[in-house]
């Protein structure tokens, strides 16, 4: 009641919207919530939209997925197809496949929704992936955002597995091959492999349980966890306030940008519709996963070009490039390294990225909060590591499509596979070294620009006949962008002997930490940025002003 008394006197009742807001405020504390968030600042930059693409794709997937469950029959009971797709009439198939054909050929708009669902799934994982690259290369995962990086990373992993269980559901020939692969990979697990396989499939492959079970995992278990993680991810973004790039007026202590109401709301809300519209147009024009083309899955049928969705291309490549090593241990036990090693390397490749922020935090010993995103060149070792990882991803992806390359470019598949096997070990170190040197070169260039200014294109002839190019000093805004970043000192283990002259015990781990830290911030790992003194000495000495 107090609101009514405190409000300025007005003739008649308050407008309906205000009365509704009053009602909500009395129940859920709306005004306090709005005070903190309604005009919240969101910095603007194109690279911040990448995560939004992922978020909006997720919403689109949920909307279209709910629609698909209204028609999909997750059952492996065999039926004779009697739908309207003539080439498959009379063929024995699972009810799952028959209902997927029903959605495609008998439900108006069903094909469109199925294609939006699949395209949005591909774009979802791509969105997460590229968003993570942006966060990684700009160091936006540093304190206080490590936990949010982990949430995002878990979303990537869960998205991959949700995709995998999703494209297995239609039970067409291609999806069945994927499920068969999973069976083989599970069987390769030492000691408990056969037990796991029997429990997961409810008996021998393929059995009658795997699709209903995948269905539950795909529509309930994994999306439920993901929804929770998405909400937590967004809450933390709001709580931390977004990072931004160095620019005039921006610093570690303020965040600058348009307010949530109205600009960000309009832009972000509008962007959701843009993403939805574009995905829908793609689904209207570009066929994805034509489940009708090859018929139902049968364990004794196969086709060429059997590739998983793109985000599993790297795991496919790991499997394809692995030599067929198989050991039979004394006592009659088989270790199938041909599958075991890829099955171990696949999660390792991902985990390396997931724990990287904690690794970098440990190496640098940096406990400060960072809200200004770095330029990739200003942390050459991290950037080089990221590029090396990406090159590894690319090599394995290449191997995952070795048959496609072989057919389309008329190459020997064995040669491609051998190239990838060697490249797996050789390419990342080369990329690491090149990227690191490249970053250092860019740092030198920045230093040069700060101290000597920008090339103006004006050639001046000096009295004694020498020609020089006039360099223009940079404007203060540009200077600030180039010199405002931090340059960390490498972590030191401290003196070898304590104040009493007794040798301290320094663990090998600490020594390794100092060594890696020198690799990040030591003498050869970064170019010292110009100091104020250097700048003033050079600019006052020259006659440019």
């Amino acid at each position: 009641m107090s609101t009514a008394n405190d409000a300025p006197q007005r003739r008649g009742k308050a407008p309906a919207g205000e009365r509704l807001a009053d009602w909500a405020d009395g129940r859920v504390g709306l005004y306090a919530l709005a005070k903190a968030n309604m005009r919240k600042v969101f910095p603007d930059h194109w690279s911040f939209l990448l995560g939004e693409i992922a978020l909006y794709s997720f919403i689109i997937i949920i909307l279209t997925g709910v629609y698909l469950t209204l028609f999909f029959e997750p059952s492996m009971s065999e039926v004779e197809y009697a739908g309207s797709y003539k080439p498959l009439q009379g063929v024995m198939m699972s009810e799952a496949y028959a209902s997927a054909l029903h959605i495609t050929f008998d439900v108006r708009g069903g094909l469109l929704v199925r294609q939006i669902h699949h395209w949005a799934a591909l774009i979802f994982v791509a969105g997460i992936f590229i968003h993570m690259l942006r966060v990684f290369f700009t160091g936006a995962f540093r304190k206080p955002r490590e936990v949010n990086w982990l949430f995002g990373f878990l979303l990537l992993v869960l998205a991959i597995f949700t995709g995998l269980t999703g494209y297995s559901l239609p039970d067409d020939l291609m999806s069945g091959i994927g499920v068969r692969f999973m069976e083989g990979a599970i069987l390769a697990v030492p000691v408990v492999g056969t037990y796991l396989q029997m429990f997961i499939f409810g008996g021998e492959f393929p059995g009658h349980d795997i699709i209903p079970r995948f269905f539950v995992v795909h529509i309930l278990l994994l999306p439920g966890i993901m929804l929770g993680l998405v909400v937590a991810h967004l809450i933390l973004i709001v709580y931390h306030k977004h990072t931004q790039y160095a620019a005039p007026g921006r610093s570690n202590n303020v965040v600058v940008g348009p307010p949530l109401l109205p600009v960000y709301m309009a832009k972000a809300g509008g962007f959701f519709f843009l993403v939805f519209g574009v995905i829908t147009a793609i689904a209207a024009t570009v066929t994805i996963n034509p489940i009708w083309a090859l018929g139902p899955y049968r364990p004794d049928k196969v086709s060429t070009d059997a590739q998983p969705d793109w985000y599993l291309g790297f795991s496919e490549g790991l499997v394809r490039m692995m030599p067929g090593w198989e050991w039979v241990l004394p006592g009659g036990y088989t270790l199938n390294f041909g599958l075991l090693i890829p099955v171990i390397v696949f999660p390792l490749l991902l985990v390396v990225i997931g724990v990287y922020p904690f690794f970098e935090g440990w190496v640098t010993g940096d406990k400060r909060e960072h809200h200004v995103a770095e330029r990739p060149r200003n942390n050459p070792t991290r950037t080089a590591f990221g590029m090396a990882w990406l090159s590894e991803f690319a090599v394995t992806m290449l191997a995952g499509g070795n048959d496609v390359w072989a057919v389309n470019f008329n190459l020997s598949i064995n040669a491609i596979t051998w190239f990838c096997r060697i490249g797996f070990f050789v390419v990342p170190p080369i990329v690491f070294i090149i990227t690191r040197r490249w970053c250092l070169g860019l740092q030198r260039r920045d230093r040069e620009k700060v101290l000597h200014g920008r090339e103006s294109g004006i050639i001046k002839r000096l009295p004694h006949g020498e020609f020089i190019e006039v360099h223009e000093p940079l404007p203060p805004e540009k200077l600030y962008q180039l010199v405002s970043h931090d340059q960390s000192e490498p972590y030191e283990v401290g003196p070898e002997v304590d104040e009493n002259g007794v040798r301290r015990r320094i663990s090998p781990l600490e020594r390794a930490r100092a060594r890696i830290s020198r690799g990040y911030f030591g003498e050869n790992a970064q170019i010292p940025k110009p100091t104020r003194e250097e700048y003033q000495e050079l600019t006052s000495g020259h006659g440019h002003h």
Binding site: L112, D300, R532
Partner: protein
């Protein structure tokens, strides 16, 4: 500098500012060339100063929204008017489902125009002045931390959990044991493996049936250079567990010139150069049925494991770890090919107990 930065009113939030903030405000000399120059002054857009331009923007946005409405109407019209089995030719996509194309493009346009309208509105008509918001340290100030820790200790002490060890340990014991119930419940997810992966439908005397014609095979049906896919007699696609059985029992037959067979045992297990191999790849279980008759190589299309069928299906390349198992065959009195027994080793991908 924007008017928002030098607002006199104090920050609405209580709490520590970031440590470096103080340094920046006090320690920086006035003539610092590297100082933060502050937000550039706001530059008005055309629409901010020219009402005509603003009107034009308003019209563009409204046009986009109107277009979206029209597209939705078009969507409904497509849904009603286009038959689901109508195939149309549309350049450059080729022959496509008319309904899918119509529904998708109209819906895509309807959604896109809403987005484009909202963003154009935000960019041209809504204020583009940037707001400066202070950040506050995520970490709590020491007094808050001290307060919380004190309250926590108080709460923990009131529970007496630290003092009464028996209580604490028995609770931890119960909590760590109770998940076992959930674990036990998972037991009936599936049967135990036993010997299931070792046995297939093949027995002594099982006829070999052509996969495509469903007729028993005779030696003369299999010509040199061909690859015939087959299954055990009595296994019908309409059977309840057909998929499980065929996943292990599917075979392929090739006929080689007897002198081309390098592996003596392999030749003996065949019949006059006809060899019968499991077609389930020993890598992960795809059918390895891409056959190259000149070299007698069978290639698995999934991961390109290559087997030399003239040499006991030895692995030539790729990730498979062992040869394709061979089925011993002979010809019965009626002249049909039949199995002499089950596979000697389990077909398909390897597993721990395989040996």
């Amino acid at each position: 500098m924007s008017s928002h930065t030098d607002e006199p009113e104090p920050s609405p939030h209580e709490g520590e500012h970031l440590p470096s903030q103080r340094d920046e405000h006090s320690a920086v000399p006035a003539d610092d060339p590297f100082a933060n120059p502050g937000l550039p002054p706001h530059e008005p857009r055309r629409q901010d100063i020219d009402e005509q331009a603003a009107k034009r923007s308003e019209r563009s946005v409204s046009l986009l929204f109107a277009l979206s409405t029209l597209a939705t109407v078009g969507f409904i019209a497509c849904y009603v008017a286009i038959p689901i089995d109508k195939i149309v030719y549309i350049w450059p996509f080729g022959h496509v489902s008319g309904l899918n194309f119509g529904l998708g493009l109209t819906l895509g346009l309807a959604l896109f125009c809403i987005g484009a309208g909202a963003i154009h509105w935000a960019r041209t008509l809504m204020s583009d002045e940037e707001i400066v918001e202070e950040r506050h340290a995520i970490q709590a100030p020491p007094e808050v931390k001290a307060h919380v820790l004190a309250e926590f200790r108080k709460g923990a002490a009131e529970s007496q959990i630290g003092r009464r060890r028996l209580l604490r340990n028995s609770m931890l014991g119960a909590l760590s044991v109770v998940p076992l119930a959930g674990l036990v419940l998972l037991r009936d997810l599936g049967p135990l493996p036993h010997e299931k992966l070792r046995h297939t439908r093949w027995k002594k005397g099982t006829l070999i049936v052509n996969e495509s014609t469903a007729q028993p095979l005779r030696p003369e049906d299999i010509v040199v250079g061909s690859l015939t896919q087959a299954r055990p007699d009595g296994l019908d696609p309409h059977d309840e567990n057909f998929a499980n059985e065929i996943a292990k029992a599917a075979v392929m037959l090739v006929r080689l010139q007897p002198e081309d067979i390098k592996d003596q045992r392999s030749a003996e297990w065949g019949h006059e150069g006809i060899l019968c191999f499991s077609k389930i790849c020993t890598h992960i279980g795809c059918p390895a049925t891409l056959y190259e008759q000149q070299t007698h190589h069978a290639l698995c299309p999934c991961h390109q494991s290559t087997f030399d069928l003239s040499d006991g299906a030895r692995v030539l390349f790729g990730p498979a770890g062992h040869p394709l198992p061979q089925l011993r065959i002979t010809v019965n009195d009626d002249g049909y090919l039949e199995a002499l027994g089950d596979f000697e080793e389990p077909p398909g991908p390897s597993f721990w107990e395989r040996g």
